[in-house]
């Protein structure tokens, strides 16, 4: 670990920008996933929300990380709708609460931020792992980050571990039978399909990793 192994406001802004790019690119793919076991809107919802976030970025440049994340949470709550809006929105609000006033986050603080985000999602949606939701991507990601952290890995390797775990978590949703969200209405027919919310969650984490680690050697 070096002095530079932190996550600053600029990286948060880059994260949000990259997330907006990624969700725009994945819009139709996410919607197709949602068509199979939901109502064919997840890609549009996420894209709408993050384009809204993108449009706010100029106004966030002077803010601390907590304020930035709070604005993101509010923007998502006010523009995404559906299930994903309150879930990601609450997640960002909780992340904002633990980063309030910060200009820079240590790897530990990033871990707290991710943990708070997951806690917000769970608090709002009351899903446990295995319910075939975004929680199934976020939970292993948070755990993998933590594990990497406690074994002394730096920010980027820990984020890489989080991304890998999230992607593994996304794949793990395929054989699950949904018990939360819209896919749960399908009963056994939900089996065999990848959860759209888990998929967007992994994209968010991947954007975070890219924002922090491009140009660095992991």
């Amino acid at each position: 670990m070096t002095d530079r192994d932190t996550l600053g406001r600029k990286e948060i802004a880059a994260w949000l920008e990259l997330a907006a790019d990624a969700l725009q690119a994945a819009r139709d793919a996410l919607t197709e996933l949602d068509a199979a076991i939901g109502d064919a809107d997840h890609g549009f919802n996420m894209d709408r929300g993050f384009q809204k976030v993108r449009s706010l970025l100029p106004t966030l440049s002077q803010q601390d990380i907590g304020s930035m994340l709070k604005s993101v949470g509010m923007a998502l709550i006010g523009s995404v709708g559906g299930a994903a809006g309150p879930l990601y929105g609450t997640g960002f609000l909780r992340a904002a609460a633990v980063t309030s006033g910060q200009q820079e986050l240590s790897p530990e603080a990033v871990g707290s931020m991710l943990k708070a985000m997951l806690a917000g999602i769970v608090e709002r949606g009351r899903a446990t792992p295995g319910a075939k939701t975004m929680v199934d991507a976020m939970t292993p990601a948070v755990e993998a980050y933590d594990r990497a952290q406690t074994t002394g890995a730096g920010l980027c390797p820990a984020l890489q571990a989080a991304v890998d775990a999230a992607e593994e978590g996304v794949r793990a949703t395929i054989p699950m039978q949904a018990t939360k969200g819209r896919a749960s209405y399908l009963g056994e027919r939900s089996i065999g399909h990848q959860d759209p919310g888990a998929t967007s969650c992994a994209l968010l984490l991947k954007a975070l990793h890219s924002a922090v680690c491009r140009g660095r050697n992991a």
């Binding site: 199979a36 549009f44 309150p86 749960s184």
Partner: protein, 357 residues
């Protein structure tokens, strides 16, 4: 995709603008955030009844705004729950000093967004209550699912509660009534075709010429089961038996308690329909099924109810809670007592439902 729209991005807004222009005596539409409200709101001293949900179910909910029904409706994007600021601003705009009741369909998104709106409105000093509608018997258990969806009964509950609010029920009494009405509703639906979400531009699911989806909701989502296409009588039998044979249904839900200003978990039981029960029967088109076919279904539903000793006191037949242009139908039976029946018959004057006035 073939639709009479200009663009998927402007569809919801333009449709609402059209509704506002078509019915200036009944409703107004506010944008940013979006809500439809009574032209004469706020009605002082009356509990304000507010509902909302994704668009694509028209006339629900915006078409049910007016005298004797809703004070405001919050439309989201197509099939996407509205955001909390919509409900919050609507509540502020239409409340008449006697509190606000949110009628919420049981979907993860609707529930969470209304929960956040409830907290916001409470923080604003509004007296607020919320009641969940979850009547879709296609969803069997509440433990291993998000719980039953709110479908056809929503329309009937909005009518009955709207009449009660218009009559002057206070918030506590209206909330009790709304919960009772919701607990007495049971529905089941099926689709002959998928609908096409405008932004997606292609059907949500593909159905073969000889297939149908049974146990669908109202968001173009696939149903519980894909089955070979059957004659209308068999379909009516299947749906009505699922409703008539549905056993007691218990679930734990969160309701906002205005007296303590906190969420409480309550356990609610919906009792099965029994011989001798009186009901409002509702045959609903998913949007693309014409009226003449609904009557073919109703004919058989009427026979099924007679056979089970269920007395149909009133009927509602038509496209009231739709899934865009989907072909298909749903059946709803809502058990009523004299109070609810009187409220059903009470005058209503909205773009989508009107009688007695």
């Amino acid at each position: 995709m073939k639709k009479l729209i200009n663009s998927p991005n402007t569809f919801v807004r333009e449709s609402l603008e059209g509704m506002a222009r078509a019915h200036p005596d009944l409703v107004r539409v506010h944008f940013d955030p979006t809500f439809v409200y009574r032209a004469d709101a706020p009605v002082l001293g009356k509990v304000a009844l507010i509902s909302g949900g994704g668009s694509g179910h028209e006339p629900m909910h915006g078409g049910f705004v007016g005298h004797g029904m809703l004070d405001a409706a919050c439309p989201g994007e197509v099939f996407t729950s509205p955001t909390p600021d919509q409900m919050h601003e609507a509540a502020k705009a239409v409340h008449g000093g006697a509190g606000v009741l949110f009628l919420v369909k049981n979907y993860a998104g609707d529930v969470m967004n209304f929960e956040m709106a409830t907290e916001l409105a409470h923080a604003e000093g509004l007296q607020i209550a919320s009641v969940l509608v979850d009547d879709d018997v296609a969803v069997k258990d509440s433990l291993y699912t998000q719980g039953r969806r709110g479908v056809g009964a929503t329309v009937l509950v909005e009518k009955i509660c709207g009449a009660a609010a218009q009559k002057g029920y206070d918030l506590a009494r209206l909330t009790t009534l709304a919960r009772r009405a919701a607990l007495n509703g049971r529905s089941m639906g099926m689709a002959l075709t998928s609908c096409t979400v405008p932004a997606k531009g292609s059907p949500t699911f593909e159905l073969g010429e000889g297939e149908m989806e049974v146990g669908i909701g109202i968001h173009g989502e696939p149903g519980r089961q894909r089955m070979p296409l059957a004659p209308a009588d068999s379909i009516a039998d299947m749906l009505s038996q699922a409703i008539l044979d549905d056993p007691a249904y218990t679930r734990t839900i969160r309701e906002w308690d205005p007296s303590t200003a906190a969420w409480k978990e309550i356990s609610l039981v919906s009792e099965p329909l029994r011989r001798g029960d009186r009901v409002v029967a509702f045959v609903n088109s998913m949007g693309g099924t014409p009226l003449a076919e609904l009557y073919v279904l109703y004919r058989r539903l009427d026979e099924a109810c007679a056979g089970s000793g269920i007395h149909i006191e009133r009927t509602l037949i038509g496209p009231y809670i739709t899934s865009l242009e989907m072909q298909g139908a749903s059946l709803t039976l809502l058990r009523v007592d004299d109070e609810m029946l009187g409220l059903w018959d009470a005058p209503v004057k909205t773009p989508g439902l009107r009688w007695g006035i």
